[in-house]
């Protein structure tokens, strides 16, 4: 009997280890997460407006139908990224998210930057170069330090009325998202 209890206990402990591994490893092996879905539609170094009429995409990403979305995916391994643009005078917010869904930085239109977005995203090595003045960047850029290279910038913009949506989507695609240091 004691023997059986020991085997069951060992099974429980092993089960606990399996459970922890599943929880910790799941984000890196997920194939239908937001990152992978966006990878197939996001262009290189540009923002794309998400099409709310595409049912599959909208429910997979759980988009809020009241908002317009613009996303840009980038890899800091190829250099720092500069996000620069002007948005219509409405509520907007921007999030910089890592591949695993962790939000590294977020801000909104009410935080004081008005209708302008000017953000430079750097990885630790690039931040060090920046501090040593080995990199040149334009005026007024907010510096965000990212612990990982593969990131998504998500801009949410609120069209107060539905007819504004096409114009707001255009505005989202006008935001630049490039490796070229804006000067």
């Amino acid at each position: 009997m004691v023997r059986l209890a020991l085997w069951v206990l060992a099974g429980l402990i092993l089960g606990g280890i399996i459970h922890l591994s599943v929880i910790l490893l799941l984000p890196s092996y997920a194939e239908r997460d937001a990152w992978s879905r966006l990878a197939s539609i996001a262009p290189d170094q540009a923002f794309v407006a998400l099409d709310q009429d595409e049912q599959d995409l909208a429910s997979a990403l759980q988009l809020d139908p009241a908002l317009a979305y613009g996303v840009c995916q980038f890899d800091l391994a190829r250099g720092p990224i500069f996000i620069d643009g002007k948005l219509p005078h409405s509520f907007w917010s921007i999030a910089i998210a890592a591949r695993d869904g962790r939000v590294i930085y977020s801000t909104t239109s009410r935080a004081g930057s008005g209708d302008e977005i000017k953000i430079g995203v750097f990885n630790p090595a690039q931040s060090r170069l920046l501090a040593e003045e080995g990199l040149e960047i334009g005026q007024g850029f907010l510096i965000v330090n990212a612990p990982s290279n593969q990131l998504t910038a998500i801009v949410r913009l609120w069209p107060e009325h539905e007819p504004l949506r096409p114009r707001y989507n255009e505005a989202l695609e006008q935001i630049s998202c490039t490796h070229d240091a804006a000067i």
């Binding site: 023997r3 937001a34 429910s59 990403l61 909104t108």
Partner: protein
């Protein structure tokens, strides 16, 4: 005989506990870690860099776009004030005040596939003189503020408060979100 039986028991227990617990903690068990505000439950710390491994696994499994905490906070309701599951063929009333926000949106969704059936936002609502809200949630057109349930059997409500700082300060556990009550069925 026992030399074979015991290892089999070990393997079955390990697999059952390991994957069963994982599945439970990502599905029904998610409720256990949620913060409750009346009928609403949510994870106000979801959109931070300090996100816990369970929430991270949940995000990956759901595949939704992350929402930073500085951008907004989301809450779900699957039951009314009396504890009954929400039914899209019945009529409910949402009443009360929203915590401070730049914008809020409310969606009626099918809990099975997250498809959205009706939605409203703060810009299209009429408020009382003290800023209080009264919103009818019903399958048929209602006077005043109304959100369509499309007559769907099972529904869940998703409330998103954009740019709210109500949940980042001390005492945020005592915040009141609007109440949800059954009107007619």
């Amino acid at each position: 005989m026992r030399q074979i039986l015991y290892p089999i028991i070990l393997v079955i227990t390990a697999l059952g506990v390991g994957f069963g617990l994982s599945y439970f903690s990502l599905e029904d068990g998610r409720e256990l870690t949620a913060t409750q505000y009346g009928v609403w439950s949510g994870w106000p710390d979801l959109g931070t860099a300090q996100i816990d491994p369970y929430a991270r696994a949940h995000l990956a499994r759901q595949g939704m776009l992350p929402l930073g905490k500085g951008e907004g906070v989301q809450f779900f309701a699957q039951k009314d004030g009396a504890g009954e599951p929400l039914n899209g063929q019945c009529q409910y009333v949402l009443s009360g005040n929203m915590p401070n926000h730049a914008l809020w949106t409310l969606q009626v969704r099918d809990p099975a596939n997250q498809q959205v059936f009706g939605h409203v936002d703060s810009g299209s609502m009429q408020y009382g003189s003290l800023g209080e809200l009264r919103l009818a949630i019903a399958p048929k057109v209602q006077p005043g503020n109304w959100i369509n349930t499309d007559g769907l059997r099972n529904i869940e409500l998703l409330l998103t408060l954009y740019d709210t700082n109500a949940f980042s300060s001390l005492g945020s556990e005592e915040i009141d979100l609007p109440q949800l009550n059954l009107e007619a069925c």
